[in-house]
């Protein structure tokens, strides 16, 4: 499904932008982070809805149900299990949110296939989704990961560290 492919690419690009913006001079820009999170949300919603229509058995990601009592918008922003590879590298302000999310990620792990339970380097044989880019070397400050020319909408994206739920980006301030 083309929309699905597009959504996944945009999601990957957005995540890498979010990560790159953390090392930007002047600190995280709230406006930019908000816009990025909105795009990610749209892309993720489209991705999910197209996946659900692909799997009529309705294999619901487990994380979208629990903690409904706490905060609805937060739950809606949870990424699906296969996107939830955790990142060790969070912004300082997000650490208390992380504690909360850790238990969710633990829950995720219970549902993951055996190949994904290890947080160590994944081999080629792993069942990682194909649109997630492979890990690459860390950039020096000021280095640009890529410069996508206009007209080529390729996913020339860099490294990513996911599991920043969309709404966790904002409290990082």
């Amino acid at each position: 499904m083309e929309v699905n492919v597009e959504a996944r690419r945009i999601l990957a690009v957005s995540i890498s932008k979010l990560y790159a913006s953390r090392s930007q001079r002047g600190g995280l820009r709230l406006h930019r982070s908000l816009l990025l999170s909105m795009v990610m949300r749209s892309a993720r919603d489209i991705y999910h809805s197209s996946r659900e229509s692909e799997q009529p058995n309705g294999e619901q990601p487990a994380t979208e149900e629990p903690m409904d009592t706490n905060c609805d918008p937060k739950e809606k922003a949870r990424l699906a299990p296969d996107l939830a590879d955790t990142s060790a590298d969070m912004a300082p302000g997000v650490s208390d949110k992380l504690d909360e999310s850790d238990c969710d990620i633990t829950e995720d792990k219970e549902n993951l296939s055996p190949a994904k339970q290890s947080r160590k380097r994944r081999g080629k044989a792993s069942a990682a989704p194909d649109f997630l880019p492979s890990k690459r070397a860390r950039l020096e400050p000021g280095e640009e990961r890529y410069a996508a020319p206009v007209g080529s909408c390729r996913a020339g994206v860099g490294d990513y560290r996911s599991a920043l739920t969309l709404n966790q980006v904002i409290p990082a301030f």
Binding site: L30, H31, S42, C153, F173
Partner: protein, 445 residues
Amino acid sequence: MAAPGGDMQWCFSQVKGAIDDDVAEADIISTVEFNHTGELLATGDKGGRVVIFQQEIENKSLPQFRSEYNVYSTFQSHEPEFDYLKSLEIEEKINKIRWLPQKNAAQFLLSTNDKTIKLWKISERDKRPDGYNLKEDDGRYKDPNSITSLRVPVLIPMDLMVEASPRRVFANAHTYHINSVSVNSDHETYLSADDLRVNLWHLEITDRSFNIVDIKPTNMEELTEVITAAEFHPHQCNTFVYSSSKGIIRLCDMRESALCDRHTKLFEEPEDPSNRSFFSEIISSISDVKFSHSGRYMMTRDYLSVKIWDLNMENRPVETYQVHEYLRSKLCSLYENDCIFDKFECCWNGNDSVVMTGSYNNFFRMFDRSQRRDVMLEASRENSKPMQVLKPRKVCAGGKRKKDEISVDSLDFNKKILHTAWHPQDNIIAVATTNNLYIFQDKVN
């Protein structure tokens, strides 16, 4: 052949800045502003410097040559700082410059970076005292025993010296990044806006400011909207507007309550569902809002268009102009190369009949509201011969490219015109490319 953009024919006048293609980051122009008479033109750059140009007296022997702008003063307004508590660097880039109306011989302007606003006094000195009794000309003190007579020191002419001194520093009032500064028509107060708050200051008082708008939610996870620009009404000192990332403009009346969280008017155009895409939210974010000189209208700039709003009508703009509609199908690429986040500004001409804004490839557009005509022009070194008339430019969206047209895919997205300014009375415009300032003027006087 009728000239586009009304009867105006735009000619190259001057270009300021380095010629070389290798742009130093500190030289990137970040704001451009004429003062209230148009005699002075200020620019701010990423390196925290302010350069002020002054219009010279008209050259009477060459009537077609309007006055030229020459450097009047250059000073370092802001320096990079470090916030130790948050481990964040505070950029010295000048986000906005706003002139105060002139009250005496000196000129005053407000310049701001992300966190601190400064009031600068720019004054001229063209006389110096001479003939001190106790001091030599070079400043050394004389031996009192050698003084045999007294004289009165006199002021003698000297070469003009322009001094800029910081008179006030308004700091520590913004947690988020300052995007706007606007001087009130009362000439005593001004507002500053960041992503979530708008503060009101008195020009004389630096240790206190009043918070007049606060849209920070209790739970930051519920944040859906930020403030992108704010401006005081040109005549009504109680009225101001602020625009948001959702494409909404709120007009507030400070007489209603101390905290203007509840708007008096809300301007929003319903979204066209046929244009919905992943990037609809980004492109509807307003990057600039400007009142007309008359105070009856306001103009907003979002990524693809310029809208004119009548303050008496909230449900839709009275005019909408597409700046570069050919980019609508390229939003995905523009997202990847970050151009979709570019914040374009817009400006009115002196009598509110024409509006101007920038685009890519060093193109800028003018929309003549009264004549319903528009034109796209280019600021480039190739068209920089004195008084050279600017030829209208056209972009071909697809299909067959006509002669002289440029195709969308050939546009240089690194060459963007974000900042433009129009002289308050005359048809003289200042257009900033990445690191150059172009001044164009209307050929017909």
